[in-house]
Assembly symmetry: D2
Homo-oligomer: 302 residues x 4
C-alpha cells in the first residue's frame, strides 16, 4: 500500500464541518452536505478535524458522525481525526476508524502540557501511533490549535521513513515549505497544505494537495486551482489564488469555523451553527462574508 500514499492523497480534501442546531449535532445537515460534496471532484474528506469541532463533541457523538461518513463517503478518501492527549486514547480511535472501514487517520500534536511537549515526547507519540495503528497515519501540525506546539523538520524527516506514516497536514502559519524541503523526495510521504493561504504556492514547492476549509463552501473552486496548476496554466492559477486568498482571509481568517458555516449557508450548503460557547455570526459579520464572496465573483459552484 505504501506506494500509493502520494497518489491517493493528491488534490483537495474537505475538513467537513459539523452543523449544530439548538446546540445538538444536526446529523441530517451533515448528511446533506456530504451528498453535495460527493458530486464534486474533491479527492476526499477529513472527518472530525478542527473545522469539524471534534473537540466539542462527546465520544458517542463522534461515533455517530463517523457513521454518517461511512454511509455517505462513496468513493471519496476519508481520513479520520483521532487527536487525543494520550497515545492510548488516540489508538482507541484509530482502531475504531479501521473497524468502520476508513482509509487514513490523522493526529494533532498533544499540547495540554505545552511547555513540556518536547520533540522527544512528540516522537514517542507518533512512533507508537504509527507502530500500532491499523491505518496509515497523517501527522497533523497546527500550532494555532495546539498552544504553539509544532513538529520539527527533523522529526518529520524521521517519521517520513516510517512505512505506516502517510504524510503530514500542515496548518502552521509558515506553511509546509520547510517540511517539503526536508523530506526525501523518493519517500512515499504526502504533504498537504492546511490552508488556502498557501495551497497554491505549496503545490509549486512539492505539496500533494490541500485540506482546505474553503472546500466546505467552494469545493469546485479549490479543485479548479489544483487543476490549473497541474495543467501548467500558472497565470490563471495565480489570479485565482489571489481571489481565493482574499475570501479565505475574510472567512476563516476573521471568523474561524463560524465564518465557514456562514459561507456554506450562503452558497447552498447547510452550515448550521457553531457549538456553544461559540455563536453564529452576527448580521454585520455575515455581510462581510457575503460581500467578500460577491466582490471576488464567486457563486454557488457545486
Amino acid at each position: 500500500m505504501a506506494t500509493t500514499y502520494v497518489a491517493e492523497l493528491s488534490g483537495v480534501f474537505v475538513p467537513v464541518v459539523t452543523p449544530f442546531r439548538d446546540d445538538a449535532v444536526d446529523y441530517d445537515s451533515l448528511r446533506s452536505n456530504l451528498r453535495g460534496l460527493g458530486q464534486t471532484d474533491v479527492t476526499g474528506y477529513f472527518a472530525l478535524g478542527s473545522n469539524g469541532e471534534f473537540h466539542s463533541l462527546s465520544d458517542s457523538e463522534q461515533f455517530r458522525v463517523l457513521e454518517v461518513f461511512a454511509e455517505e463517503a462513496g468513493d471519496k478518501v476519508v481520513m479520520v481525526g483521532i487527536s487525543r492527549e494520550s497515545t492510548r486514547e488516540s489508538l482507541e480511535m484509530a482502531k475504531r476508524a479501521a473497524a468502520m472501514g476508513f482509509s487514513y487517520v490523522s493526529a494533532l500534536t498533544p499540547s495540554y502540557f505545552a511547555s513540556k511537549t518536547t520533540e522527544a515526547v512528540l516522537q514517542a507519540y507518533y512512533t507508537r501511533l504509527a507502530d500500532s495503528s491499523p491505518l496509515p497515519l497523517l501527522v497533523y501540525n497546527a500550532p494555532g490549535f495546539a498552544a504553539g506546539v509544532s513538529v520539527s523538520t527533523r522529526l518529520v524527516s524521521v517519521l517520513a521513513q516510517h512505512p505506516n506514516v502517510a504524510g503530514i497536514k500542515d496548518s502552521s502559519k509558515p506553511g509546509p515549505f520547510q517540511y517539503l524541503a526536508h523530506v526525501d523526495p523518493t519517500a512515499e510521504f504526502a504533504v498537504l497544505a492546511g490552508s488556502a493561504s498557501f495551497f497554491y504556492p505549496a503545490l509549486h514547492a512539492g505539496a500533494a494537495g490541500g485540506v482546505l476549509s474553503m472546500a466546505n463552501y467552494l469545493p469546485s473552486v479549490c479543485v479548479r486551482l489544483h487543476e490549473l496548476f497541474l495543467d501548467g496554466r500558472h497565470q490563471e492559477a495565480g489570479t485565482l489564488h489571489s481571489r481565493v486568498l482574499r475570501v479565505n482571509a475574510a472567512v476563516s481568517g476573521l471568523f474561524g469555523v463560524a465564518g465557514v458555516k456562514a459561507a456554506m449557508s450562503l452558497l447552498g450548503y447547510r452550515g448550521g451553527q457553531p457549538r456553544h460557547p461559540f455563536s453564529a455570526l452576527a448580521d454585520e459579520e455575515r455581510m462581510v462574508v457575503a460581500g467578500k464572496i460577491a466582490a471576488e465573483g464567486f457563486r454557488i459552484d457545486a
Copy 2:
C-alpha cells in the same frame, strides 16, 4: 450557601495526581495517596485537575477516579474538574459531580480555538455554566495549559457577583494579584493561588488559600505556611516560603507532573508514572529533585 465560600475554601487544596502503571490508571495507588492525605490538615482536594492528567483519561476512567474520591474523601472538601471545550460537555460533568455528592466544580477556559476565544466567548461559557451547574463553580485560569487564553479582571469582577460562582483558581504567571484587587472584598468570592511560587505573597494580598501541586508530596509543609501566615509570624513564613519556592521550581517548574510524581515517591506517596507520551523522570532528573528536597531540609512530613 453563598455565605460560606471564602471560609470553606480557605487553606490548602491538593490537585491530586493520577498514578499510572503500565499506562493504566492505578486506582489502588490513588486510594492509598488519598488515605495518606486524609491524615493531614489540608482543606481539600481538586479531583481531575491538570496534575490529575484529566485530559489524558477516557470518560469512563474519569468516572472511576471520581468514585475513589467519593469513597476516600472523608470530611475533605472536593472540587471536581469539569473542563471541556463545549459548555454542554462541561455541564454534563457538573451534573455527574453533583450526583456523586461532591461540593464544587472547576472549569478551565476553553482554548482549542484560542485566537477566537474572546472575552465574550468566555463570559458566555462561564455564565451558562454558573446558571445551570448544580454545584458552585470555580473559574480555573491557567494560560499555560490553555494556549495563553486568560480570564480578564473585568470578567472576574462580573462573575464574582454571580451567586453560583464561588471563586477562581489562578495558575497564571502573574498570579492572582490583579484579580484580588478587582474583586469586591464584600463578595463571597474565594481567590485560590494555583502555584507555590506566589501562594504566600498572595495570602498577603487577600487570597483565601491555594491549590498547590506541592501538596501532593509535602502537604503539611504547605499547611504550615498557611498557619504561619494566620498567626502573623511573617519572619518564619518568609523563610519557609523561600524554601518552598526553590523546591517547587525544581519539581513542577523543571519537570511538571512527572516531577511531582517523582517527589511523591521519594516522600512516601505512590506517584506512579505519567501517561504516555510522557514518561517518568530519568535517573539524573530524579536526583535533581531529591537533591533539592534534601538541600532545603524537607523530609516525609505526613
Copy 3:
C-alpha cells in the same frame, strides 16, 4: 561599597518620565518634576528607563537629560539606564554616567535577535558589563519590553555573586518571586520590584524596594506603602496595596507611559506628551484615569 547595596537601594525609586512638547524634549518640565519629587521621601530616580522613553531619544538628547538629573538630583540616588543592543555601546553609556557623577547603571537584556539571545549570550553581556563598568550594575529584566527575553534564576544567582552587580530590577509578569528565592540571602544583592502590581507582596518575599511608574504621580503614596510594611502594619498596608494596584492597572496597565503622563498632569506634575508615533490620551481615556484615581480617593500628594 558592596556592603551598602541593599541598604542604599531600599525604598521607592521613580522611573522618571521624559515630557515632550511639540515632539521635542521639554527639559524645563523635566526639571520641574525633579524639583517636586525632590521634596518627597522617595529614595531615588531611574533616569533613562522605559518610562523615560530612552529608546526614542537621540544620544545627544539622552546626554542633556542626564545633565538635568545631575543638576537636580540633590541627595537622591540615581541609577542611569544604559540599555543598548551591543556590550560596547552599553559600556560607553556606563562610562559617561560615571563621569557625570551618578551612582548606579542599569541595563535591559538585549533582544533584537530574540530567538538567538540565549542564557549564554546574556551571561556574556552582563559579565563583561559588570567587569568593566565603573559603576555598580543593576540587571533590568522586562520581557514585555524585550521581545520576551528574560534572565533565568540560574543566571541571576550567578550574577549576584559578582561584586559589581548591585541587584536586579524586575518588571516581568511573574514578578521577582523566583529571583528572591534563588539569591543567596547573605549576598549584597538588591531585588527591586518593577511594578506596583507586586511591590507590596514582593516586600514580604524579601525585595529591597521598587521602581514604580506610579511614583511619577503619587510618590508619597508609594513611600507610605513601604513605610507601613516596615512598621508591620500589614492590615493597613494590604488595603493600600489594593487601592494602588487598581489605580496602576488603569494607568500603566491600560495606557502605558501615556497614562502615566496623564496622571501626572492631573496630580500637579508636568507630564507632557509621549513622543510620536505615540500620542497623548484622548479625552475619554483621560477621564478613565481621572475617575479611577478619584474612586480610590487619591489626591495631589507631594
Copy 4:
C-alpha cells in the same frame, strides 16, 4: 517616479552584513564584500538592515558604513535601513540617506512598547514617514525582530496607495502571501520576500523580488532562482528552491547572522564576527554549515 517602483525593485537584494574584528567595525572587509557582490547580477543592497546589525552600531558607525556603500555601490540600487523607535529619529536618518544619494529607505515597525503598538500607532508612524521622507519608503515587517509587532493587511493596503511608499519587505513566518493578495495589483507597490524560505513560492504569488540573507554568500544562486522563475522553468526552479531552503534553514535558521558570516567565510567573502554579546560559531557549528552547503552541492559562485 512612482511608475518605476516594481521594476526597480525586482530581483535579489543583499541585506549586507557588517563584519567585525576585535568588536570594531571592519570597514575594509565590508568594502571587499561589496566589490565582490558588485560583480554579480543582484539588483541591489539593503544597507543597515538586521543582517547588518544596525541595532548594535553607534550613529557614527552607521554613517561610516553608509559612506562605504556610497563609494562602492556602483549601479546597484541601495535601500537604507532607518529603523528607530521614534518617527523623528527615523526621519533624521531618511534625510541623511537622501543627502548621501541613496535611492530608498526602509523602516521596521517600532516595538519597544510592543503591547501598545496598535495598528493606529503604526499607521501614524508610516504615514508621517512617507509624507516627509525625501526618499521612497519600504515598510519592513519582521515580527521576529520586533517583539511580534506586525503590520496588518489592511494597513498595507492603505499604505500601498501612498505615492511615496514603494513597497514592503516581509520577513514574517507566514510570509508575504496575505499582503500579496490584499494589495491592488495596479498599484506601484513592490512586495519583497524577506527569506529564502518562501522567496520562490512568493514569486508565484506576485512578489517582485527578495531580500535574502543567503545572497551574502550565494548571491548568484539566488539570482539564478529568480531567472528560472522568469523563464518559466518551474521544474528546475522547484528543485533549486528545495536546495536553497535546506541550506538557508541550516545557516540563518539555526545560527542567524553568525551563521551567515560563517557561510560567507567558507564561500570567499569576509564575514568577520558578530558583535558582542554574540559570538562567532563554534567549530562544530561551522561544520554543520559547511556540511550542509557541501551536501547540497553549492560552491563559491560569485
